[in-house]
Amino acid sequence: MHFYIHIKLTKMPTSTINKVNIRLYRAGTGDCFLLQFKAGNTVKCKMMIDCGCIQGARGDFEPWLKDIKKETGGKIDILVVTHQHEDHINGFKRCPDLFDKFTFKKVWFAWTEDESDAFANDLRQNHSKTSMAIQAATTKLQGLVKNKFFNSLYKDEVGSEFMVKGQEHFVNVVSNLNSLNTNNVLGANGKIPSMVTLFKDFKVIKPNTKVEFFNPGDLMKDLSELPGMRIFVLGPPRDTDKLDIESAKGENFDKREKPSKKDAAFAAAVLGNSDGTDLLPFETIYELNEKKSPLKDAYLDAKDKWRTIDTDWLLSSGSMALRYEGSINNTSLALAFQFIGSERVLLFPADAEVGNWTSWHEGLSWTIKINGVNKKVNAEYILNNTVFYKIGHHCSQNGSASRLGVNMMTSDDLTAMAPLNFKRIQPNWLNTMPNDILCATLIDKTKGKLYFSGNKDELMKNIKTKRVTIKKSHEDVLNKLNDDFDGEIFVECEIKG
């Protein structure tokens, strides 16, 4: 007699990823993440997202790299580089020799860095002009401060000390904004290179490194490095209007001219480019040149120097620099990693601002298989399933959409990490980071599972304003979680899939 025992074999998913260890390195305000995707106790994929710290020095990064080397043996499967601001990539800049010893199998960029993409090249061209103009203006302004120009201009005025301080403060802020921009140097062909070239110089991209570019709407699944996971690409949008949105208010002046995106007039003047119409507003026949004029004499009269306007036009660089910061932030590669089985999502929007966030909800959809059935999902679905949120743009208000972002994070198992650290931060950011309402909302949603890069007490002081209420029980959780990492160079959490 033969017995056949039929045993239904359920496929044991021992090789699919079922948890991820997320480590945020902390020396100052900036992003540097090490993600280790695990299947059981085996690390399936080692991923880095950015490596930067505002005003970071080599001494800040060395311990991080040591730690990463220890954890990964220096072999990183995927490096994600989100955007070109210094506080996300200066780690690579400062330590090329150390990174030389690392191997990066794949490096991921947004479509903006793809030198074969005409739209990207156009965008980079425009950005480069703006960036160089800001750099030139900043240099000129710093020169004025150094030469005590304002001291001499205002010397007879009552309250001259205040006026000088006011100008110096302004120049400081523009300098800070300017210091965020990496790409101020022209490449060989007179164009500013994409980050691909930059990262080759950083010894990160080597001949056998695979470089990939992503567009919003892309869906990555069945990646050999990430079994059991899929990745949604949410941004950056391929739309200059969205990229340049600074704030959420609508404009209803359809008749009014707006300054051209190219800011060509200012750039031409500050860079001294004499390429024709951009530079000179009027035909040369109207110029006074060497002719005498009592008005010219009046202007040049030393007695009336206090009324001259030789340097006021450079102050336009202030608003230009601010707009540019927002534009580059909006080029952030925004990714959502999802565990296929549980549909739980890890959201990493880098420094995306409102323009980027809102674009996720405009026409983007992905078709995925849920329980064997094909389903079309959108950004709201992704947000609803988010269980880990890397807080955008260091907890500023612009960095996290509310209605179209945080409000849609409805999971009751949410964890968040805040890459904000007062130890290193630009002084002008102190007014905008952290945003109290944003952080209090997140503390509530995460029930206290919020990790800070910086000193928890310092940051909580700024979060607990009169406008917000935070439950004591949540605060206790928050305190315990953060205290555990006191003195460590990273904060870390594990998210189950």
Binding site: K258, S260, A264, A265, F266, Y286, P294, I309, W313, S319
Partner: protein, 667 residues
């Protein structure tokens, strides 16, 4: 800016002939450079001077100036000159005296002894003296910046206009990336010129001491530009003639104001405060005023827009009442017009009424300035000033102009402090109680009559400036008529005068140092007396519609105190005079209006340093806690209310930004 380009073709600006001879040259000099203004066409971005236009040249004179041409910088020079001068002249006719630019305050080495010499200000260190330099001409730089910005610099006494490559909304109308010049916009020029004029009247209105101050500057500049725009009947005729059917004043003129808001864009306060195009009906509809806005909105442009909208609503109400009979006639009582075009006569009459009303409202607003406190202005103060100024000049408000204003303010939640109800009588500033100081007032008024006699015959602006200065600070030069200045007289006459303190809210008593006020040894005072400044003095002569004439002298006084707010465990606050750590400066001031015909004090409009109620009740000297708290709170703003630009570039109460108006106009 299409709207303005269309305008230029239709408008001829009538500017008074400049006839004075200076430096051997008669009339307006090339630039143009004249009595009030010098246009210097220097572009610092490329370090080039442009050929100045000579409007006195017979060729140009004969054809009403240069033909409009965006490409010729001389036309730009002509434009800024013409619009600035129009604005100045409108102001002068409403104010009843010539426009003076704000003087330049400089430090000068003091070679005289501090004692025994007449001085207007006594806070200077013995080595340096502070003096006010006369500024004859406002400078205008038509091509000063490469930015979508234009601003008045209180420090340089100059207007700077920018130009930028524009992305037009409609590429069929304009080349993409074409250069747009802010100096070619009537509205922007008028707006900036008004900033300069207002600064000349009240230079402390750039001190950001409460949320209304800078908002007021923006709003007032918009109001003048807006209503000046409406005083050109041709502009209105086009708009009125283009209407079919519904002649509701609101839609008509509101739409025009809306276009003004669009043209002036981010340079002015207006934007969409007045109304908007309804996306469904595609028709313009007025914005329903929100009583909450005034309480919540703090950004100067948005806040200023509330004031502009209020004034505009008052204007509409008045206009509607003025043309009600016309409309009745034209529509045979139905209010609805027959099909087809409007009769040209009707269009003319409506346009002329609108233009007249605009002129009236503008005059009311400008005249109100004399009835405002010298610092820390609020919208409520301005409303009271409008009502008081109008009541002073026009006894019978038979068209209910004043009610129109009150209503418009009320609907927006703008209520003056300390007023029991919103009737014209309550809002009018009361006649001050001068029982205790009657004699001194009479003597002062007599002195001020001498001032009036001296100044009436002076037409030269510099001499007016100097005469004002003389009567404030005194004149002791050999060979000149000896004058004991107003400052000295107040210093002496109101020594320890509680009556005067109750009136002005400023400190004249011996216990001044406990209140944080510095001492002054001027005029040989020993022991020192409390320091104060006679901020301004001028003579105003106004003629009402009935031919009645007002003869007033207006004196403003300011005083500074160094204070600290202390809080006890229960949260109760107290204010003390203190010069140590955590102390801050609070300024008080008062506008006194003397009637030269009756020799009486008509009004005392005060921003007190003292708590006047306690002074009146118990004759106790205490600093004004309410004002101090408001000042402190305002100067330590929470980051929540800042725009991104403010958050990054603002000074957070640690000092002054370099150029307040450039800063304000940038977003």
């Amino acid at each position: 800016m299409n709207i303005d380009t269309a305008l230029i073709n239709n408008i001829t600006y009538k500017i008074p002939w400049e006839d004075e001879e200076k430096d051997g040259v008669k009339g307006l000099k090339p630039g143009p450079s004249g009595e009030y203004i010098e246009v210097i066409d220097y572009d610092p971005t490329i370090e080039k001077f442009y050929e100045p236009v000579n409007l006195s040249h017979p060729y140009i004179l004969a054809q009403d100036g240069l033909e409009p041409s965006g490409a010729n910088p001389q036309f730009h020079q002509q434009m800024v000159y013409a619009v600035a001068m129009t604005t100045i002249k409108n102001f002068e006719s409403a104010l009843g005296r010539p426009v003076l630019w704000s003087p330049r305050r400089v430090k000068v080495e003091n070679k005289e002894k501090a004692n025994g010499k007449a001085k207007g200000k006594t806070e200077a260190k013995p080595e340096t003296k502070i003096t006010d330099e006369y500024i004859p001409r406002l400078r205008i730089y038509p091509h000063a910046l490469r930015d979508a910005n234009a601003f008045y610099s209180p420090q340089k006494k100059a207007l700077l206009f920018g130009y930028f490559s524009a992305k037009p909304a409609d590429v069929t109308l304009q080349m993409p990336d074409n250069l747009t010049f802010t100096c070619l916009s009537h509205d922007i020029i008028a707006h900036e010129t008004t900033h300069a004029i207002l600064d000349g009247l009240y230079r402390k209105y750039v001190d950001d001491t409460n949320p209304d101050v800078l908002a007021f500057h923006e709003a007032f500049a918009d109001i003048v530009a807006l209503f000046q725009h409406f005083t050109f009947p041709d502009v209105l005729k086009n708009q009125i003639a283009a209407t079919r059917g519904d002649l509701t004043a609101q839609n008509l003129l509101g739409k025009l104001a809306q276009e003004f808001g669009i043209a002036i864009g981010s340079y002015g306060a207006l934007r969409d405060a007045i109304g908007e195009i309804d996306p469904e009906t595609n028709k313009w509809k007025p914005k329903v005023p929100d009583g909450e806005e005034y309480r919540n909105v703090t950004e100067p442009h948005e806040r200023g827009a509330i004031l502009v909208a209020a004034i505009f609503e008052a204007f509409l109400t008045i206009y509607k009442s003025r043309v009600a009979d016309l409309l009745r006639i034209a529509t045979n009582g139905s209010g609805i017009l027959a099909q087809g075009q409007l009769l040209p006569d009707l269009v003319s009459r409506l346009a002329s009424e609108a233009s007249k009303t605009a002129g009236h409202v503008l005059k009311m607003c400008i005249r109100a300035l004399d009835y405002c406190p010298p610092l820390d202005i609020t919208f409520g103060d301005f409303l009271r000033a409008i009502i008081t100024a109008d009541s002073d000049l026009i006894a019978d408000d038979n068209r209910d102009y004043r009610i129109a204003f009150i209503d418009a303010f009320r609907k927006r939640g703008i209520y003056p402090a300390g007023v029991k109800n919103l009737s014209p009588e309550s809002l009018c500033y009361p006649t001050p109680d001068t029982k205790e100081i009657g004699e001194q007032v009479k003597i002062l008024s007599t002195f001020l009559r001498e001032f009036r006699n001296d100044i009436t015959y002076i037409t030269n602006r510099e001499e007016i400036f100097n005469c004002n200065k003389r009567y404030i600070a005194g004149e002791f030069t050999e060979g000149k008529k000896k004058i004991f200045g107003l400052h000295r007289r107040l210093h002496v006459k109101f020594k320890n005068s509680i009556g005067f303190e109750k009136l002005t809210g400023l400190v004249f008593s011996d216990n001044y140092s406990q209140l944080g006020i510095r001492g002054s040894t001027a005029y040989g005072s020993n022991p020192p007396r409390p320091s104060f400044e006679v901020h301004s003095l001028h003579y105003a002569s106004r003629v009402g519609p009935d031919g009645n004439q007002n003869n007033q002298v207006i004196v403003t006084i300011i005083q500074r105190a160094s204070v600290k707010i202390q809080e006890d465990k229960k949260g109760n606050k107290k204010i003390i005079g203190d010069t140590g750590k955590d102390s801050f400066e609070m300024t008080g001031g008062c506008t006194l209006i003397f009637d030269l015909d009756t020799l009486e004090l008509n009004y005392a409009i005060s921003k007190p340093l003292l708590d006047v109620d306690i002074l009146r009740d118990k004759e106790i000297h205490q600093l004004n806690l309410g004002r101090a708290i408001q000042l402190y709170t305002h100067q330590h703003p929470s980051p929540f209310t800042m725009t991104a630009y403010q958050a990054y570039f603002g000074m957070n109460g640690k000092g002054r930004v370099a150029e307040p108006f450039a800063f304000l106009h940038t977003h």
